[in-house]
Subunit: 308 residues, 2 copies
């Protein structure tokens, strides 16, 4: 009984967008599927720990998607529903399944979103601030009480448009995660190690530079750690891969015994593995029947691929 209560306590809170996506790849088109950074990240984290999701949907949000979150045992106290339409995004992937073109973005209820944390979330030890405006990320962070580990993601839009708040945010987080091109844009450096060193000089102990299909790199005071992408047989939809990676990481970190460099490295590999399952299907379909056992098996495989 006590164990159960303990397990039900939210350990990781994740804030970001909840969206309805329409995605076209050279092979298929799927309309009105569940997306958004917090959907992907929370689901990924849910395989490891109890997650509280912070986001907003409109009154049109399909009940089946809310049910899906619950199936993943995600706490929804931080999910707000307000009158109006849910955030929508649509895009088309090129044949390489990497380059994509945004067809439309409708912010809808997301436009006026100012996330308030439920009281029970405020002392959660782990926070993932997915890719939303740095002002919102700061607003969430200001409500948290002495978090142990805060990860933030960002994107080119915020680097270009809201650099001031972004720099303030960066100074307050333990880890910044961003793409290679974003790291270069943010720092003005080309070499990724130098990018990371510059960002580390602004505050974060850890910088993770994501390189899409080529995996990622962790840079810390202990040096570089190479995080390979698990080579899947077929990438069906890469949408949300970075969010799955971040969510899987923070979820695993919450449960790993020591939050030291080896703990962080191992958690990043977990993130990579969860992301690899996610890209094998559209939306969250690659995670629906996924078990912790499958994840651990693939983690072992990935370990063998890094071992002489």
């Amino acid at each position: 009984m006590r164990e159960e209560r303990k397990n039900n306590k939210v350990k990781v809170i994740i804030v970001g967008s909840i969206g309805i996506d329409t995605i076209e790849t050279p092979a298929a088109r799927h309309a009105d599927i569940l997306g958004g950074s917090v959907s992907y990240a929370s689901t990924a984290a849910s395989f490891f720990t109890r997650v509280g999701m912070v986001g907003v949907v409109g009154s049109d949000f399909p009940p089946k998607y809310k049910k899906l979150y619950k199936k993943f045992n995600i706490d929804l106290a931080g999910m707000h529903t307000i009158e109006g339409k849910t955030f929508r995004w649509s895009g088309v992937y090129e044949a390489d399944m990497i380059n994509r073109r945004t067809l439309s973005t409708e912010l809808n209820v997301f436009e006026s979103f100012s996330p308030e944390l439920p009281v029970a979330y405020r002392s959660a030890p782990f926070i993932l601030l997915s890719n939303i405006s740095p002002d919102l990320q700061l607003h969430v962070l200001s409500q948290a009480v002495a978090p142990k580990f805060v990860v933030a993601d960002t994107m080119d839009l915020w680097i270009n448009m809201t650099r001031g708040p972004l720099m303030k945010l960066i100074s307050k987080v333990h880890m910044l995660m961003l793409n290679d091109s974003e790291a270069r844009l943010l720092t003005g450096e080309h070499n990724l190690k130098k990018c990371a060193d510059t960002i580390r000089s602004w505050g974060p102990d850890y910088v993770v530079i994501k390189k899409g299909e080529h995996g990622a790199m962790l840079i810390s005071s202990k040096g570089v750690f190479i995080v390979p992408a698990y080579p899947v047989d077929k990438v069906v939809d890469p949408t949300g891969a970075g969010d799955l990676f971040a969510g899987g990481f923070v979820g695993a970190l919450a449960e790993v015994k020591k939050k030291d460099e080896p703990g962080i490295r191992k958690s990043l590999l977990y993130g990579s593995v969860v992301a690899s399952f996610g890209v094998e299907r559209f939306s969250l379909d690659g995670l629906r029947r996924l078990t912790r056992e499958n994840i651990d098996k693939r983690l072992l495989d990935l370990g063998k691929m890094m071992h002489v």
Copy 2:
């Protein structure tokens, strides 16, 4: 005395181009520097074993470059000098130091090159057929007597122009090394693991897919091995990186105790490390003062970057 004789015996033969390059990067321009696939590959291999270089130069070939090969203890019995001008190439790198544009290619003496192996080379156990026409690669291979391990490199030109001889070559080698885009062009598959499986069905036990700054992947019956690129502080000139990788690999393989999967994996990491030193300077300058000790130290570093 006996040991010395043994050490002087050519163990690896490498065939390819010897060129005089003129290279421009956003930071510098260097004219008439030593290049060519066999220059890079042989020098890389020379840190591990005794290498016999098979190539052709014109009567204009600067004696200082011949001296440089000798400094690396490369056997030059297979290097032919014929009347005329040495092969020349010039190119310009973009700011990303990856994309490059060829300004000019002069085949010169290379046009009529038909490599004959010195008798002493014919029983060399290891052969690297660097990127030249598959007909020439086959011609060299036909002179070899029961080699233990043959590696071939290739490029888009041969895939497009001389597919017949290339397919014949592929069926005869133990390992094919090629870039990701070339693997896709050759097989018509997008997924790199599938590309490798298709190529393996044509004969080679091992396929290495090179991904530039993102390292490489080995695919064999034992699965995938991820070969990271060592993250250098500054890439000064990436020319020849793939050849350094291949040469370092085959040199290390000649000296590694067992030529099994772990031996091949370790040798690939050696190749990656030697390539990382090479790209830190123009031409072969990154290898001039390099020692085996530096190589082993960086190999250890790279191992740490792959270890949780």
